[in-house]
């Protein structure tokens, strides 16, 4: 036998107790949606897992009303320390049910169990634990003494890290004293609904968190609902742009985490084996379904051949297959639609003259799969060097000098992430200064932590999630002062100083119906 053909090591599904149908979670209870239900499938097998409700306009309205009622009646009257205690409870319940959540996430999303088990779900618990402690310390959030919550937060999240994105949204919102209506992505609603059960176990007051499911139009109805005070969206730049248009002229505070085309810059003095690991982690983690993926490798020309050779050898050890197998490195692509986009852009890369190389892994016969792929001989003008592919596809470009590396890294409308690999500390710091991106990883990549702010420059969006800054995105200063001498006025892009209301023309250009895809 070949040892490297590790025998199957599937994680057990025995601890899952899924229902065949899920309703909407509104005002503390599950209730059937009034839209047409849809199935959620396992992208590794294309088998149905459960039927999910669709929230229509009336359901969205009911959810927003429940959140408003809970805000006015309960949550805004609760002390910070009590809000914190609820969040601590949620963190503990997530830890207790971590394996179940990991298995459910892997089933519904297609990502490997080792990632849901070791990354996604631990970070979910960490996020709630971190923000739980903030709930009674809001004076230190950076928006002045005794800040106020915004009210009802409408949150729309993507399918790439379903429960983790939920935690990034809900934890700071609740800590700051807001109530929430959250819509998970159409293809990955399952763990959000399990999370609703956790909220019931935590005895969170009804209506503080409402979870409504559906496609892009449900999300659109939610963010356009006049009853929401805050819109937080993670997904594609196209949808983010539409949301920014639709909230223009309203007093909704907006934060957007959008797409990226991160540069991973490898200098000739890099710790080479760790750099190769970082390249792999940068683009093949979560099948490349990562907004901050290092999807452009910028390698110094003098070491290009060596790096590519090492990278290819390393990629051959990546194990693609059953996401529930504990040894799987590359799981399923989340949907047929996403697979089609990855294929389309990859084919385009070939047509444009880039050289394509994929690992020779066996592709399962059912489900959605894409072998880890790199393109060499890529030019900055190629589509695969500019467009977010959101799949396990790396474009390799070269540079000769640090200045050229910086120029190429910044040559994109996006600005979310970048990586720097070098043993020279002074160069790392100087290059980090010059990169126009919100998160820079030096000699590492794709690290996340609840205390570390995350978010983009330019068309990668605005606002930060994580840390103190992620908290302030859900707060406003306590009072407006009429005096010029007291700088109590807050200025956050999109926060309107009640100067006017939305014009008729604004609503015409509201968000188009697209589903969230970060």
């Amino acid at each position: 036998m070949k040892f490297l053909d590790y025998a199957p090591a599937p994680e057990s599904q025995a601890l899952l107790n899924l229902k065949s149908d899920y309703g909407l979670f509104i005002n503390g209870d599950f209730t059937p949606g009034r839209g047409t239900p849809f199935q959620t499938i396992n992208p590794a097998t294309e088998q149905q897992i459960a039927m999910i409700s669709t929230a229509n306009e009336a359901d969205v309205d009911a959810a927003v009303s429940a959140a408003r009622h809970a805000y006015d009646g309960v949550w805004s009257r609760l002390s910070g320390s009590d809000r914190g205690k609820y969040l601590f409870r949620i963190a503990r319940l997530v830890q207790e049910r971590a394996r179940e959540l990991a298995v459910a996430e892997t089933l519904d999303n297609g990502k490997p169990i080792k990632e849901t088990r070791d990354v996604d779900i631990p970070l979910v618990a960490a996020w709630f634990f971190y923000y739980a402690g903030w709930a009674d310390k809001l004076d230190h959030a950076g928006v002045g003494p005794n800040p106020a919550a915004l009210g009802v937060a409408a949150q729309v999240i993507p399918w790439n890290f379903p429960l983790m994105m939920l935690a990034w949204k809900i934890a700071p919102a609740l800590a700051a004293g807001n109530t929430v209506v959250l819509k998970p992505a159409e293809t990955t609603s399952l763990t959000a609904l399990l999370f609703a059960e956790i909220l019931q176990q935590a005895d969170l007051p009804a209506g503080v968190v409402n979870i409504i499911t559906g496609d892009g139009s449900t999300g659109q109805t939610l963010v356009n609902h006049p009853g929401v005070n805050k819109v937080a969206f993670t997904g594609s730049t196209a949808v983010g742009r539409a949301i920014a248009r639709s909230v223009a002229g309203t007093d909704k505070k907006l934060s957007l985490e959008l797409g990226g085309k991160g540069a991973n810059i490898v200098f000739d003095d890099a710790p080479i084996d760790q750099a190769v690991e970082g390249i792999v982690r940068g683009i093949f983690f979560n099948q490349g379904h990562v907004c901050c993926a290092g999807s452009r490798l910028l390698v110094q020309e003098s070491i290009q051949d060596d790096v590519i050779d090492r990278l290819k050898r390393r990629m051959q050890t990546l194990r693609l297959g059953d996401p529930l197998d504990k040894n799987t490195d590359i799981g399923a692509i989340n949907s047929a639609e996403q697979l089609a986009r990855i294929r389309e852009l990859s084919d385009l890369g070939q047509q444009e003259g880039a050289e394509r190389w994929s690992t020779d892994c066996v592709i399962p016969t059912t489900g959605f799969w894409f072998a880890p792929t790199i393109f060499t001989n890529v030019s900055t003008s190629h589509r695969i060097a500019r467009d977010e592919i959101f799949g396990p596809v790396l474009s390799v470009l070269t540079f000769r000098t640090p200045a050229e590396a910086i120029a190429k890294a910044n040559n994109t409308p996006y600005g979310l992430s970048a990586g720097i690999w070098s043993d020279k500390g002074s160069r790392i710091l100087a290059v980090a200064d010059k990169l126009r991106a919100g998160v820079i990883w030096a000699n590492t990549f794709n690290q996340f932590d609840p205390s570390s702010p995350f978010g983009g420059y330019k068309e990668s969006g605005y606002g930060r999630e994580g840390g103190r800054h992620g908290l302030s995105a859900y707060l406003k200063p306590a009072v407006r002062s009429g005096s010029r001498s007291i700088p109590a006025v807050e200025h956050t892009p999109q926060a309107v100083a009640s100067a006017g209301k939305k014009s008729a023309s604004a609503s015409k250009k509201s968000a188009s119906a697209e589903k969230a895809a970060k």
């Binding site: 036998m1 080479i272 050779d309 590492t444």
Partner: protein
Amino acid sequence: MTHSPLATYQPEQRALALIGGEATDANLRRYLHGIPGIDAVGLEARAADLGTRSIKTSSKRWAIDTIIGLIDLTTLEGADTPGKVRSLVAKALVPDPGDPGCPRVAAVCVYGDMVGAAVTALGSTHAAGGTDGTGVQGVRVAAVATAFPSGRASIAIKLADVRDAVAAGADEIDMVIDRGAFLAGRFGQVYDEIVAVKEACRRADGSFAHLKVILETGELNTYDNVRRASWLAILAGGDFIKTSTGKVAPAATLPVTLSMLEVVRDWHRLTGVRIGVKPAGGIRTSKDAIKYLVTVAETVGEEWLTPHLFRFGASSLLNDVLLQRQKMTTGHYSGPDYVTID
């Protein structure tokens, strides 16, 4: 990357060609410091990730038998006697008296003065890398030498130590490098000593005892030092690079072994020559040992999982592996009274 003409060179020529001159401190420093550095956080994260591989059922059974066949069963005590060595040899040959199908270990590893006792005890089952008379894998004799474990003796004493062990029938010599000289930057001295020890491994018939070079990574301290020492040992002609004496903590760790495997991998890419790796000390459970197998297989390839290219320097590991083996055979958990104490 294609193999360069270096592959056809003799080891010494090859080293001199690579470092671009004589093996002086300055030339060696220039060469060793030109090797890319190691980021410790990334290295340790990679090792931890490899450690999460889940080896089950048929893979685990194969792994357990493979581990037994890769063990250098070791006794390195001041209190060692011929009797103790005979007992060790018996265990090496029949690790599990209850299961004749259990494979033999790769070698017994003893102090130089015990080589004779080991050779005698092995008798016809003593085989330097080959099979014994019955076609079963023979057991080798490895001797620690060069004033093991500290290496603090004159070069004359160290070489005499090696020659004695080889003359007594040792198939393999586990030497220690002069860590003091390495840390002081006297790379030439470290290099020359290894070359001299290699020469001392020559037998009367012109063949060589296999040379394992112990870096004592716990004293080298940093991963960059481990990597440089690994290159130095290979350049000087070592057949194996070995982590530790077992007398200094920390001994073998997964990240250190990973970093040494990466050197071996790169040397193979450069020259086409395969060098062995031996983590020694601190590996006590089959669970840990399986992590090493995974790390070898995913770093240099599973063709390295042979006694010629990979060993575990261990003593207590064997019994834990045997307990696991019994569990897999019988289906229920075993206990320490069901394996022999040495």
